[in-house]
């Protein structure tokens, strides 16, 4: 559980630093869709993937770049936890 919470914090910190202002961070819930909320564009997804690969040391395969894996903080926590085993 501690690992998941650390991952959650890491992701939120990255999203906030890269794409949001302080106010927007307070309004972003863990289940909000980045796509629907207009937080990330196609360029931003590449930055996110690059961050995941550097931070956690795994490769994100092309067919893993899906909304189910990447489109919210909750989805990312599950995806990353699964990759780390």
């Amino acid at each position: 559980m501690a690992q998941k919470e650390k991952i959650r914090k890491d992701i939120r910190d990255f999203i906030t630093k890269s794409f949001l202002t302080g106010d927007e961070n307070e309004n972003l819930s863990d289940s909000d869709s980045f796509m629907k909320e207009g937080i990330i564009d196609s360029t931003g997804v590449l930055e996110l993937v690059s961050f995941l690969e550097k931070q956690y040391g795994f490769a994100v395969k092309d067919d893993e770049m899906t909304p189910g894996n990447l489109d919210s903080i909750d989805n990312l926590v599950i995806f990353i936890s699964g990759k780390l085993g």
């Binding site: 796509m35 629907k36 990330i40 564009d41 196609s42 360029t43 931003g44 997804v45 590449l46 930055e47 690059s50 490769a59 092309d62 067919d63 770049m65 899906t66 909304p67 990447l70 489109d71």
Partner: protein, 514 residues
């Protein structure tokens, strides 16, 4: 024919065929037509002067399509708004065109108060849901309702009852151009309809065609997808999830789309960052590519991945509604790097500053003459005089024609770097770097240099798993280009900024690099 008649003619011929698919929902032509007429009647009751601009702020959706046609049927002018614009720019556009009415997606409820605050010209707002405007004196009316039971009876609606006046202003599309300040391109019904029919002709579109729409409708290329497919009785399959390419590819398969239209970055991302090249896509008949030059290397990769599909390379400008040239797919291998020949009904010259056609092989400016040439720029008479001369459009793009009449773009007039007394085409350097192994994208531009005047800078994105470095790129360029064309400064980035339509945002990149 007016733009609305593209819809009314199709509904007469194909009332039950699906016009729009979005989020698993299918809407046929008669439903689309009914909803557009319903909204149009509501707009008509406002008694606005004919030709009044109406702002349209919607993500790609059924509601956008309904709204666009409703505005035109009511004799008003559609002003599609770039949904990625900041608040100040949105306010600027609405003030610039003096839009008294705004049709807005309920998704933009958070920014709507900012858009209409203060001295905004907007007096009436319509949306698909009841949302707040932030002003006590400005209520939002929820009028766009596509629930079947609320639609007017199809049989009671007169068909083709719009006034047939092709020369009137139909829409204003704002572009930012090189200065960054949006200016409105005025397009008449004739501009849009003639170009739509020409495009349907050379793409051989029929009612059996369906296109996956990833390009925004407020972008002239996206608008072309809208009008061509409504005009031929085909289907628009809207999917706004291009930031996850696998989702788009899944939709293409499940909906059996016959066409994919993209700008260069869309193809680069699909080829470099997705399972695109491994997919069969059996229903897909063709690709179209416009929105900037796509490097021959990328075209080759696309041809290798899908040897049996037709690939249409195209060129155009918002000011030309937009299509100017197309490259017939059967000529792609022989004329790789060319933007092709004039679209039906349009004349394209390579000309000198005075507009006189130049001989084969000589570099000059692309000049367009035809029913697609814009009416002018809204409120920008000076710039209009620069580009519209005797009804012909001077595009600002430099090119040459070969002996068969095929046109090759050399670069933008404004995208020449003057370095150490030499003039260097940005396009040439970018295409060279892309030929190097492992490069996903590159942007080249000039930066101030105390000795050279301008130095050439390249910002490069490596493909996943590749790690080209400065030395490698420099050596590669030296082996292909004259010494003065080799970039002096090379940097690497995780990604390059894009506009919402997917085009490289060089202005933003240059600002970031300062």
């Amino acid at each position: 024919m007016t733009v609305f008649q593209l819809l009314s003619k199709s509904v007469e011929m194909f009332p039950d065929r699906t016009a729009v698919t979005h989020d698993g929902r299918h809407t046929d032509f008669s439903q689309l037509y009914s909803a557009a007429c319903h909204l149009s009647d509501r707009l008509g009751r406002l008694s606005l002067p004919e030709g009044s601009p109406v702002g349209l702020l919607y993500e790609n959706s059924l509601e956008y399509v309904i709204s666009f046609f409703a505005i035109l049927r009511a004799g008003l002018v559609a002003v599609p708004l770039d949904t990625s614009l900041d608040l100040d720019s949105l306010r600027f556009v609405l003030s610039d065109c003096d839009a008294r009415v705004l049709l807005v997606d309920s998704r933009f409820r958070r920014i709507l108060p900012g858009i209409v605050a203060g001295n905004s010209p907007v007096e009436r707002i319509f949306s698909d849901k009841k949302i707040g405007s932030g002003r006590d004196d400005l209520e939002v009316e929820a009028v766009i309702n596509t629930e079947e039971e609320s639609l007017p009876d199809m049989d009671s609606l007169p068909l083709g009852d719009t006034e047939d006046d092709e020369e009137k202003l139909a829409a204003i599309f704002y572009t930012s151009g090189s200065t960054g300040t949006p200016k409105g391109v005025m397009l008449s019904h004739r501009n849009l309809v003639s170009n739509t029919l020409a495009t349907i002709e050379y793409l051989k579109l029929t009612r059996d065609d369906s296109v996956i729409v990833i390009l925004p409708f407020y972008y002239i290329y996206g608008n072309s997808l809208l009008l061509t497919h409504v005009g031929c009785g085909g289907r628009l399959v809207i999917d706004n999830r291009f930031l996850y390419p696998e989702a788009i590819l899944d939709t293409m398969e499940s909906e059996n789309v016959t066409g994919f239209s993209g700008v260069p970055s869309n193809f680069m991302i699909l080829l470099g960052k997705s399972t695109f090249a491994k997919r069969e896509l059996p229903a897909l008949r063709y690709f179209t590519q416009a929105g900037g030059a796509m490097a021959p290397e990328i075209v080759r990769q696309l041809m290798d991945a899908f040897p049996e599909k037709e690939i249409y390379i195209m060129y155009g400008q918002t000011e030309a509604a937009p299509r100017v040239t197309w490259l017939p797919p059967e000529m792609l291998k022989e004329k790789l790097g060319s933007i092709g020949i004039a679209v039906p009904g349009v004349t394209v010259l390579v000309a000198d500053d005075k507009g006189n056609e130049l001989p084969t092989g000589k570099v000059g400016e692309i000049v367009v003459d035809g029913p697609n040439v814009m009416m002018g720029y809204w409120n920008h008479a000076d710039e209009e005089r620069e580009v519209l001369r005797n009804g012909r459009l001077f595009t600002g793009d430099l090119a040459k024609k070969d002996e068969d009449g095929y046109i090759y773009v050399v670069g933008r007039r404004k995208e020449i770097i003057k370095t150490g007394g030499n003039r260097v085409s940005v396009k040439e350097v970018e295409e060279c770097i892309l030929e190097s192994n492992g490069i996903l994208e590159v942007a080249v531009f000039g930066v101030d240099d105390p000795v050279l005047g301008e130095a050439i800078k390249a910002v490069i994105v490596n493909k996943k798993g590749c790690s080209a470095d400065t030395v490698e790129i420099t050596d590669f360029c030296r082996s292909r280009l004259a010494a003065h064309k080799v970039p002096k400064i090379i940097e690497f980035a995780q990604s390059l900024p894009k506009t919402k339509s997917g085009k490289l945002d060089k202005k933003k990149l240059k600002d970031q690099c300062r």
